[in-house]
């Protein structure tokens, strides 16, 4: 599952290793009314249904979030060069999510052996986020999110993408003309800068339960806040040519918040050197349709650092993660009917020299393969739904994927697959009422007694009700 903030909820070595299953917290947001305030345009200009972007929304982002239609505070120097172009009203907005989660079978009590937790959990709120999202200066814009997390009862820095874009056109205004945007992005989550909804940071599900069990592992690029999300910083450059071709390379390194600084052995999964991310995509638009195909990937060498109660130095051999992904997105945006298809395939090869040396993993070579297929339909942007399929498979590793109640794997495998059903009703464009059901055919390796403690995959089937407000 995407964009999950992994919160270690057990003291087992496996879970502290960073591969264990955790309770997750989503960090959605991203469809922010501050953009509407800045541009004077309705949400529907940039979003089919938030947070999914339309072609215009992609252009808005690629151009640096700077299109504005409100009064500016301006300044020039004596050479008439502009020194300031600031929105007279700051592009600030708020997002609130209130959710209810019910799983197929109650989860174990966190303190009492044999007892069960309350069956059904209301989070009021699941999340509240503040955004500055919009123009900073001519060509320079930002999407900055600060989030209160209802599970962690904490407030902190969330997804951030600060970018500068410059546009060129050449060849005149005839059919032989060409356009090019070159941009620079400074962000804290690989793919948060992307403009398609097939990459993890903005992928389906756009929101999900933050208390239901989630998979024992996922690929690094798909782990959201459990991986690199909000714990790295990256500087990248991108090219958008003729409204068709996109290419980007961004280099990340660890930027872990809190704990020891400079980073040392008390921090976990620290990037050694830098972790390059790359992205290419091609988009074709015709009539009311748009189709994009692309590929992206990430390569990272990590020092395990603190794993459980064991400190390992940020030196010597490392674990290497190499993710390679392909994606395809199709959108039809009609007056009444809107269709979207999203497909993503991610392959990760792990070379765990450090973890094997330190006894955290059994195999040096591991792999994960993730597939996500999603179809969406909306009628008049008011009511619609989602059908999705997801799976992750990988090799067995008795240390990475050890048995543990709910969170572990009895057969040492990370395999998971299931489906997602969603009905959404939007009485207003900035308000979503959602009912989501996630069903698992396989969880952490198998369907029945997957954790070695008698829990079945279907016990984790999750009904999730959400009120999602952006204003």
């Amino acid at each position: 599952m995407t964009r999950m903030r992994q919160i270690w909820s057990s003291t087992s070595l496996l879970q502290w290793l960073g591969f264990g299953l955790c309770v997750s917290v989503t960090t959605p947001g991203w469809a922010v009314p501050s953009f509407a305030r800045q541009t004077g345009m309705a949400c529907a200009a940039c979003h089919t249904v938030f947070p999914e972007l339309t072609p215009f929304g992609r252009e808005f982002k690629l151009n640096g979030y700077v299109l504005d239609n409100i009064k500016q505070v301006t300044g020039i120097d004596t050479s008439a060069h502009q020194t300031l172009a600031l929105n007279s009203v700051p592009p600030i907005s708020l997002m609130a999510q209130i959710s209810y989660t019910h799983t197929g079978a109650a989860l174990p009590d966190s303190a009492l052996n044999g007892a069960l937790a309350k069956d059904g959990d209301l989070l009021f709120p699941q999340q509240v986020s503040f955004f500055y999202a919009g123009k900073i200066a001519d060509g320079l814009g930002a999407f900055i999110q600060l989030t209160y997390d209802g599970v962690g009862d904490s407030f902190g820095f969330d997804n951030t993408d600060i970018r500068y874009a410059h546009h060129w056109s050449f060849g005149g205004s005839n059919d032989n003309s060409h356009t090019m945007i070159v941009g620079v992005t400074l962000n804290n989550n690989p793919t948060v800068q992307d403009v398609w909804n097939t990459t993890p940071a903005w992928g389906v599900p756009y929101s999900n339960s933050s208390v239901a069990p989630s998979a024992i592992t996922s690929t690094k690029i798909d782990s959201g806040a459990g991986g690199f999300g909000q714990s790295v910083g990256g500087l990248g450059v991108y090219l958008w040519l003729d409204d068709h071709f996109y290419a980007e390379i961004t280099d990340y390194t660890s930027a872990i918040r809190g704990g020891a600084h400079p980073l040392d052995s008390t921090q976990s999964n620290v990037v050694s050197g830098s972790a390059p991310y790359w992205r290419v995509a091609y988009e074709q638009r015709w009539e009311r349709n748009s189709l994009s195909v692309g590929a992206f990937g990430l390569s990272a060498n990590l020092h395990p650092g603190l794993q459980g109660a064991i400190n390992t130095a940020l030196a010597g051999v490392t674990d290497r993660f190499r993710d390679t992904a392909a994606d395809v997105q199709y959108q039809f945006i009609g007056e009444d009917h809107l269709f979207t298809f999203l497909g993503t395939y991610i392959s990760e090869h792990q070379t765990l020299n450090a973890s094997v040396l330190d006894g955290f993993a059994a195999n040096t070579d591991n792999n994960l393969k993730t597939l996500k297929l999603t179809g969406e339909y909306y009628y008049q942007r008011r009511i619609g739904g989602t059908i999705g399929y997801f799976s992750t498979t990988g090799g067995s590793d008795p240390l990475l994927y050890a048995p543990a109640p709910v969170t572990g794997s009895a057969n040492s495998k990370p395999d998971i697959n299931g489906y997602l059903l969603e009905v959404n009703y939007l009485p207003w464009l900035n308000t979503k009422l959602q009912a989501q059901y996630v069903g698992y055919q396989k969880f952490n390796g198998q369907s029945t007694n997957y954790d070695g403690s008698g829990r079945n995959a279907s016990d984790n089937n999750t009904m999730y009700l959400l009120v999602w407000l952006n204003f």
């Binding site: 345009m41 200009a45 410059h166 056109s169 003309s177 356009t179 074709q284 009539e287 007056e335």
Partner: protein
Amino acid sequence: MKFSYVVTIAMSTSVCVGGIAHSADPTADTITDAQKAAIQKTIQTCGVCHGVNGRSVAPTFPNLAAQQAPYIELQLKAFKDQSRADPDAQAYMWGMASQLSDANISALASYFAAQPAAPGRGGNSALIAQGKHLFEEGVPARQIPPCATCHGAHAAGLAVFPRLAGQHAPYLLKQLLVIQSVLRTAPVMHGVIKDLTKDQMQAVVAYLESI
């Protein structure tokens, strides 16, 4: 299938570029380099949806190429003062036009009016023939006058009467519907099309898209 025209994407600055000259040609010698750049950026901003050459990809957004300059001016001012209030006007154009100066509006109108018109695209020939008849003859039995009376024999428009030739059929159909339901105010048109059926609308817009 109509593939994308090159769409320039320069939302790198505000559309509020006040003070630009009344000129259709950003390269004219009478304006400063800064003004040229401002005009060009504004055109590029419009071009995100309408195409820098005024020929749009998605039929939500009308072609502006070869449109009558007075009509473009009138509409931009109606967006700016919010007197044109159909759904897409509110969603897209109220914001986009809100900061345009009169000079900017004139420059944009002149620029797009000077672009080569979008070519017609064929379709259902029977429907097109029906639409042609309706466009040229009207529906006398229902007191619907010929569209050509105001929009011209070749639908090229005249002054504040818009060019319709080569326009996206879905866009034209939507305008007829929102004018008929008075979501979009167009005093002359309200009377003309009040009894036009949706089937007749579909025929006439198919014809207009084809020429």
